[in-house]
Each structure stands twice: as C-alpha cells, then as structure tokens.
C-alpha cells in the first residue's frame, strides 16, 4: 500500500494529528483512530445519556394511560416513545465506540443493572401527579435541550448526528410540555396548586440536573477534558445560568413561585445567585439511592429477564438461516 498509514505513526504523532483534526473542527468517525481517553470520555458520556433516555421514559410512562384526555394520552405516548427512540440512537453511538473493546448492548444493559452505569438524577425521582408529568415535559426536557444543544457540533460525528435528530424532536416535546402546564396554570384552583406543588418538588432536582459547579462539590469531574476534546462547549454552571435566563421569567409570568426566596439576578456579576441544592443528596441519588432508583431499575431488569427467551430464540434462529 502506498497510503500513509496511521499505524506507522508513533502514539505522539497520532495524538498530535488527532488534536489537529479536533482544533480544525473536523469530525471524528467511529472507525477513526482516537486516543483511549477520548473514546472513554465519549463512552462514559454517551452511554449515560442513552440509559438516561431509557430510564427517563419510565417516570413519564407511568402517566401515559392516566393522561386526562384522549389527546393528551396520544401526545404523551408519542413523547415517551421518542425518549425510547433517543435511547436507541444514543445506544447505537455508544455501542459502536465499545465494539473495539469487545462489548455490545448486552454489556451496557448489565452495567446499568449492576449500578456501574449511572443515569440522570431526575429519573430517580417520584412523579406522583399529573403536574409532575407537566413539569417533566416542560422543565426537565427544557434543561435537556440546553445540555444537548451544546453538543450539536460535537467533535464526534455520530454523536452530533444523533443529537441533530434528537433536538429536532425535542422541539415537539417542549411544546407538549408547555401545553400541559399552561392548561394547568390557567385551570382551576386545584389544577394550579397541583402544578405549583410539582414545581416546588422538582426545583432542587432541576438545579442538580446540570451537575455541580466545580469538582469541589462532588470530587472528580470530566467537564474540562470534554471541553478540550470539543465534545461539549460549556461548563455545568454556564448551562444552569442559561436555564435560569430562559425559564425564570416564564415561571414567574404564569404566576408560579420558585421555591428559593434568595434567587435573584446579580447585575454586577451578571449571573443568577441562588440557593445551592444539597450536593450530598445529589451524590446519593446518582449512585442509585434516590427515592425511585431501585424500583425503576428492577422494572427494567425484570422485563429484560422476562424477554430473554425472545432474544435467545431469534438469535438461534438467525444462526440456522
């Protein structure tokens, strides 16, 4: 072969060339050479994102049959289906990255069940009322759009492409959420108090969603590496501030009260000052000790076990064919 082969280069040369590509804004593809820590960072981020979508479908799914009208039933079914669909897209991206390590979807599922693979704090929470379904669709999805949009131009091509598809659907989700909460906000006294109660319950979890401001809060953090590799472009705090900018005026405009008396925009600092959520609680939740962690995980684990015979049956069928 007359081609210049990557394998003939030293590690340092490969790394240098890789970083040049990153700096030049090129997109890395699944079978390109990449440094191990880039691959690891992607696997960590994307597999967590994938299982968060899948686990995230569960609290809302509790509300699909209960949705109050036929129209709402259909809309929330479509929305939860999209979440599973996003899980599918992201799993595929993560699986292709894990393939050279000899791992596949089965391993991701097992890692989820064993607790090795974490999922977003918000999906460990209870969602006992229809107000919660509204707040999830409006604000949890709103928060997710902010974090996902930041990686629409991610250096990793397959992730960026998956996010393009995902974000296109998130626009529908945002409007679905707005439609639910506006109906409640404009509704009866009981409906309004249902909505306020949900906001109050979910507020700390929404702040935690973006992760801690700096690693002092939780120990290690991968944010800087992800920024260096252009996998993401903003810090956790940037994102949280963006969320405040976008949603605080709206929350207030419909007469809801934010359960933080201290929150205000500091003109001098140019940022929102707010009461920190309990980061110890955050650590507890994401390590699988949240109010619903065990129940939701066992739901997935049990159903995965229950349908194993189906996968085994079709796998062996494929072999004969």
């Amino acid at each position: 072969m007359v081609l210049e082969l990557t394998r003939d280069l030293s590690y340092e040369e490969k790394y240098e060339r890789f970083m040049e590509r990153i700096e030049a804004g090129e997109r890395i593809e699944a079978d390109d050479w990449m440094p191990d820590d880039y691959r690891e960072a992607l696997i960590r981020l994307i597999s967590m994102h994938a299982v968060s979508e899948i686990m995230g479908a569960l609290p809302e799914k509790e509300w699909t049959p209960k949705a109050p009208t036929l129209h709402r039933k259909l809309a929330i079914m479509a929305k939860v289906q999209d979440e599973m669909g996003h899980g599918q897209l992201l799993l595929r991206v993560a699986e292709d990255l894990m393939k050279p390590l000899g791992k596949n979807r089965e391993d991701i599922m097992q890692d989820l069940f064993s607790g090795r693979l974490k999922f977003h704090n918000v999906f460990h929470m209870k969602a006992p009322t229809w107000g919660d379904a509204g707040i999830i669709a409006w604000l949890v999805d709103g928060a997710a759009i902010i974090t996902q949009s930041m990686s629409l131009n991610s250096s990793y091509g397959p992730y960026a492409r998956a996010l393009q598809r995902i974000c296109a659907e998130e626009v529908f989700h945002a409007q679905h959420g707005e439609s639910i909460i506006l109906a409640l906000a404009e509704g009866t006294e009981e409906q309004r108090s249902m909505l306020q109660k949900s906001l109050t319950e979910w507020w700390p979890a929404l702040l935690m969603f973006f992760g801690p401001k700096s690693k002092e809060n939780v120990g290690k953090s991968h944010v800087n590496k992800n920024i260096k590799y252009k996998i993401r472009t903003k810090t956790n705090e940037d994102l949280r501030q963006e969320f405040f900018n976008k949603y605080i005026p709206r929350i207030k405009s419909i007469g809801l009260e934010i359960p933080d008396k201290t929150i205000h925009f500091d003109e001098e600092k140019g940022e929102w000052v707010y009461e920190q959520p309990d980061w110890n609680e955050f650590k507890k939740i994401v390590t699988g000790h949240g109010p619903m962690s065990e129940q939701r995980l066992s739901l997935r684990r049990d159903s995965y076990q229950n349908t194993r015979w189906v996968r085994d049956a079709l796998a062996s069928r494929g072999k004969e064919a």
């Binding site: 082969l5 593809e29 289906q81 669909g85 595929r92 596949n104 996968r311 079709l314 796998a315």
Partner: protein, 113 residues
C-alpha cells in the same frame, strides 16, 4: 453462553430511505436486529415516524464496504480541473456576444422542448 447468543440477536443494520419518488436513497441511522425482516419492521418506526417516506432499504453493516481513515486519502484531488466544470468556460459568454448570440446557460440547455 447467554452472552454469545444475545450478540447474535444484536446484528447491525444500516437504514436508508427515500423521501419522495424522485429523491435518492439517503442514509438515516443504524439499528440492531436479529435478521433482515426484523430490521425492516423496526426501521420504519424508529427513524421515519414523522417525515414522509416512500421506500426503505436495510443493509447488514458487514455487507457494506467503506473507506477507512487512511484510505480516505484516495479522495483528495487537486483544484486544477476547471476544464471539467463550466467555470473553465466562462470566456464563451463574451465570444458569443461578438456574434450577437446569447450563451446557452444550464437553464436553456436542459429545457424540455
């Protein structure tokens, strides 16, 4: 044992679709399925729930040949090939004007008579 079996359940398929009768097939995404029939049934709803679609292809990924990172070097081309493009024939417009003729553009060359 189970591990081995389930990996055969998880075969990779690439999904392509056509948006309308005239459109070329376009790559959508990939999915896992144990066989072609299943891949086809999954493709439609996983990737084409909203946009219009008139046909779908599913292709087993291992049947696709592509270029690796190094092999993509064969795609490089110098920018000295104006003679292949209309840009290389820009002087004709002026020429035809000397003969009091208008130069055919893409529009009137390809116009159905």
């Amino acid at each position: 044992m189970d591990q081995e079996k389930s990996s055969q359940f998880y075969e990779e398929y690439e999904v392509f679709s056509k948006r309308n009768q005239m459109a070329p097939f376009q790559h959508q995404f990939s999915l896992l399925a144990p066989n072609r029939e299943m891949a086809m049934m999954m493709a439609k709803e996983n990737f084409l729930r909203r946009e219009p679609c008139v046909n779908i292809w599913v292709v087993k990924r291992s049947d696709i040949a592509g270029l690796g990172e190094d092999e993509r070097q064969v795609l490089t081309r110098l920018d000295n090939k104006k003679y292949r493009e209309t840009a290389g024939y820009g002087y004709l417009k002026k020429k035809w004007r000397q003969y009091e003729q208008e130069q055919f553009t893409e529009k009137n060359l390809l116009k159905e008579s």
